[in-house]
Amino acid sequence: MDFELSDDIKEAVVRAKEFANKYFTEEVAEKSDFNEEFPTDIVAISKKEKVLDFSNPWKVLVTIEELVRRDPGLGISVTISAFGAEIFMFFGNDAQKEKYMNPVFAGKRTLGLGVTEAGGGSDVAGIKCEARLDGDSYVLNGGKMFISNGQIADHFLVLARTSPPPSPEKKHKGLSVFVVDSKSPGFAINKLHGKLGVRATNTAELIFDNVRVPKEDMVGEEGKGFYYIMTFFNISRIYVAAQGLGIAHGALDRLIEYSKKYAPVSETGELNENLQLAIAEIATRVEATRNITYKAASYLFKFTPNPIVTSMAKFYAAETAVFATKRAIELMSLHGLTSDLERFFRDAKILDIWEGTTEVEKLIITRMMLKEGGA
């Protein structure tokens, strides 16, 4: 067991740090946040400079962590362009990989993933969006809610029902995944405004009104969509855990900086113990998050994913990010409230919600443990 990162992964960390230092200025971060504006220019530069090296998932993981540590909104915007691409990798055919996946990994195209609907996100099998076969294409009707990259993606992977469930208990059957071109006739996009945080990311509602999707743009087999999406979540949740790690570590950085600069000290010249213990607690949680996230990643990157550890990492990272940002603001008082930490605090809460809420993650852990007998 080796807890050291290899040299090339350490290099990726340094590269990410340098990129964030250069481009994630407070001015840009604040503007994107205030105006709810996707940082198009920075994303373009990041693609040109190949900040995300998709040839090595460890590099992707540490890059997310480092960029988000500097600024969550910008960090996530820069690292979310290929959201959903692993579905092509594992279930797409060669033509789809060539046409849709490769341009995304090459930074030439942007992808989005449409699972959640207005009526529900946790209950994935309960979606209502329909795809009906008509000649040599499917016709999509329905909508998707809260879709990241909604206005900027070139294509979306969309989960839709292609056949009625065989029984109420088997709702997860009869769902399929389609690639939808954002310029398709009948496809409408409404930007969602007024998010609490991650306001640099683009979020939209998608509406399908008789949108035609060629048969060959169905990914994998008809009826297996639920399984594909769950497989994908078992990958993406590790990256969400890395987001949580970045946010929590960012909060810790700021609290430590504050402690050196402004914090009151006792008569013996030491930091007050209340603050010392708080720093220790946050630092320990950050370390625990890193260990569990890297453990989940090491299972996945060896192609032996462990969904129990993955869900543990995702929910624990989310809780740590929320906890760390809250405690840091409370302790830094006006210095925290008036610094970029207030943005971290708002951004952190999304991690409890997207790609499986914290409650859902915990249910997955226990249900799988009962089924499989241990993590």
Binding site: L192, K195, L196, E330, K349, D352
Partner: protein, 344 residues
Amino acid sequence: MEEEYEILENTVKDFNAKYVENNSLKFENESMGKEFVKLLADQGFFSMMGQSGEEVADVKTLSVVLENLAKSVPAVAVKTLLANSFLSLVKDPEVTEAVANGSKSGTVTFSDLLVGPGQNGSLLLSDGKIKGEKQFVVGSDSDFIVTLLDTGELVLLKSGFTAGKKLKRLGFRSIGFSAVSVNSSDYEVLSKEGRKELEKLYYQLSIPVAAISLGMSEAVSQKGLDYAKVRTAFGHYLKDFQPLAFELTSLIAEMEILKRYFEVLISTSPSRKEAMFLKHKALALAKDISKTSLQIHGGYGYLEDFGIEKFYRDSMALSVLFHNEEHEMEVLSTLVFETKAGFV
């Protein structure tokens, strides 16, 4: 609750329904506008605290008003709190009349009590002029400011100051929040023992600040209850899921206990310790309950349309703008131990 408070509560409820609820996003994020501020003043909401020389001022009616204003738009309650704080310190009839009737606005800077020495700018009086800069001024867009000089006097600045670049604002976005540059010969010294005076007011505000927290908790928990009764997932109402139901119920239990304690405190003459107990717990509760309610709303909770996320932001902002965890716990520990405690 006593009858007079019930009547007051209904008055504020009507006021909210008539003037606040339809404009809540604007009042929260942009500006309240002069007309609305005048309406608030016309209700008599700005001058409810009186000028008490005692350690524990009569903040009962003010607290009931704040609790209920905070249920719709917490920023409106904070605006009201600032006006009352100001009027409790200033005596100049021209100034007080203008602030009480809403034609002018006034604020008090508490930041000297919240951050360490030298971290809040510097204001000095020399050759008949007050010059310098004060950091972290809540209500920096006001016409009058009561603030502390480095030399300890509490002064009323009537003109000769300008608000700087807006600071980041987690909550109460419609209320000015920035540093203020001062170059003024138009001022009045209110007290030579300014810090003491300011501290006295700060502790008098413990119950009003707690009241705002409780108002927020009531509103945001109600939203959680309502949503959990209509939203379904996996074929069940959210209210039927134990993690959500139990957590919200437990927090509501805490809230109801605190409300009872609040009612007891406002109908007696509470000690500083009791008032601080309430503030300490109510601020924490507002944060916890906003978080839980947001979580119950899932993705919708993260968007402003559902009126949840503002409570998440405002409850944290309140606990920083009118409270300092370490400082207050030191004071409270000393009151609890009845001897200096919480210091090494």
